[in-house]
């Protein structure tokens, strides 16, 4: 069997001295889309922050492997260059940084880190225009400062645009459906589905089943109290929708 894109082994993570993740094991093989579902506070966001390398998320035990190599010692930018991408639940607005400047800096920084040549301006423009068209992102939006004044739907489309341009091996979608109406959900999901590929995997984090009608997962994992407590195929998501998370709550002592 080939090396999985993402492998998480017995991951324990502390935030401000409190243990949030209590031994997560997860394998996402190449080309698969896995969903993680769980109620608020179950540790889903901690998992995505720990994978992407945010300061303040301390791994006390276990390992995270990207294509077979541990990324724990890498800074966030190095993890990105290694092929990791997270679509943020709340993309950050950055006044004074033009969207195009940002996209070019990010693409070229990753290419530089991988020892590849930087993009020429025509190559860059062509790539952006192609990807923007697929996501119905107009030129005006690209002219604005990064995410500034974007609607909820525009922000999520901009995240998927970045994902398309950066061509990651592993995509994490953190509550991508939050703040989206049905039409926007459709556009964003189509954008994500277009990026499904045999050498690319995805981890979709959500607490609603509806996103999974659009981005159909290969596997569904239920998260509770910092662990994966059950795994199954896409039918598990429907079961959860019907029964709720209560059955998975930790038993009160």
């Amino acid at each position: 069997m080939s090396t999985p894109i993402l492998e998480i082994r017995d991951l324990h993570v502390q935030v401000e001295d409190k243990e949030i993740l209590k031994g997560v094991d997860l394998v996402v093989p190449a080309g698969e889309v896995h969903a993680i579902m769980g109620r608020n506070g179950s540790g889903k966001s901690t998992l995505s922050n720990a994978i992407t390398g945010r300061d303040g998320y301390e791994v006390t035990e276990g390992d995270i492997l990207l294509e077979g190599k541990s990324i724990l010692e890498l800074e966030a930018d190095e993890r990105a260059a290694a092929g990791l991408f997270m679509a943020f639940q709340y993309p950050i607005e950055i006044p004074g940084v033009a969207t195009m400047t940002f996209l070019k800096s990010a693409m070229n920084a990753q290419r530089k880190a991988r020892g590849e040549d930087e993009l020429t301006t025509p190559e860059f423009m062509k790539a952006v225009q192609g990807a923007a068209k697929d996501l119905s992102i107009d030129k005006d939006m690209l002219k604005r400062a990064l995410n500034v004044g974007f609607s909820g739907g525009e922000k999520k489309r901009a995240e998927v645009l970045q994902m398309a341009l950066l061509e990651p091996r592993m995509c994490i979608l953190d509550e991508t459906d939050s703040g989206l109406d049905i039409d926007a959900l459709q556009v964003v999901s189509e954008g994500v589905n277009r990026l499904r590929a045999p050498n690319r995997s995805m981890l979709v984090i959500t607490h609603y089943q509806r996103l999974l009608n659009h981005i159909v997962p290969d596997r569904v994992h239920v998260f509770s109290d910092g662990r994966i407590v059950e795994s199954g195929d896409k039918e598990l998501a429907l079961e959860l929708e019907a029964k709720g998370y209560a059955a998975y709550d930790p038993v009160a002592a």
Binding site: D55, I92, I94, A106, Q110
Partner: protein, 414 residues
Amino acid sequence: MTDQKPILTGAEKALLAQLEQAGQSAGAHEFAIAGLPTRRVESYHYSDLRSLLTQVPLLAVAADVAPGTESPAPYLSDAVCLDMVNGRVSIPGNMPAGLVVKEISGSVLSERDDALVRLNRGLAGQAVHIQFEGDVGWTVLVSRHLSGDACHVVDGVDVIVAPGASGTLVEMFDSSDAAHLGNHATRVRLGEGARFTHVIIDLCARAVRHFHSLEYDLGTNASMRNLIVNSGASLSRVQMFGRFSGSRAHGDFTGLNLVDEGQHCDITFDLGHAVPDTTSRELFKSVARNRARAVFQGKIVVDPVAQKTDAKMMAQGLMLSEGAQILTKPELEIFADDVQCGHGCTCGELDSDTLFYLMSRGIPRAEAESMLIRAFLQELFDPLENDELVGRLEAIVANWLENGSASAGAGKAD
């Protein structure tokens, strides 16, 4: 009864001797009593010159330096360039139509209860007078060089923008690597409907102590924008005294302290809305790295007759290192009742969420920090219409970011 006469510091004694030698006996007498301002003088609250100014070099002798020999390639290609070397003006013979430039003597500043102004008035030698006429919109670049061995330079620029005329003045300060003391002045008077842009950039050597007093008078319907950039001298204070004396005038007053290890840079601002129906916007930013101190004091006074005044002042600071200090003091004194005046102030580190967002896209920490610092400063430069000048300002920031530890905050951004 205690003796009120203070013990003068070495620097004060040297200044006193220079005033006496210049025949300013009244000024010298006053200075002997008051000395240099301490923090007890409200407008010098964070810049105690008595302790900060430790040594005063000899007054520059203007004839020592041949004028006009030091100018390299023009800093701004479309500008009319004037050089002042150690206070000595050199004026090219062929001034374009619409621009009158001549040498004048003495201080350009009005009398005022302020130590630096008094010293400028007492010791000023030469000044240059620049008059903008018509709406050609000339850009004049005055490069003030402090040259050779350490010296005390006291000089001035006097500007008149004629009614309906427009113009831009860029003042650049640079120096040899010596402990010069500059006491510079610029006075600007805007006639009815005049439009004026004023950019002041200190790029002196660290050893220099740089003082600059600015005086603005805005006539009816006049409008102006200024930008002060302090980044060179170890000790700098740029103080602005502005006055609206005609209705419907507007001023945008902006500034930047871009400071690093060992620097103390102060922008102090005193603006009087003296007539009805005038507007002003003030935006001051500080970026401090390592053990540096940036000071901003802004005071807006609205006279009882100045109804419909609309003034908003904003000060924003970015601290890149633990030892950095940003000290801000806004003051509003409002004596009219139908006005809109406000002030705001923010100060902090680079936002860790924003930094993480950029890094999560593959941008290394140092580059992400630089992007955010440049973004923070962009709104000071964007309104300037001269693209070449904006390019120069961006280059100053880029140079500042590259030299020295651009990622001094690395590892402790949280």
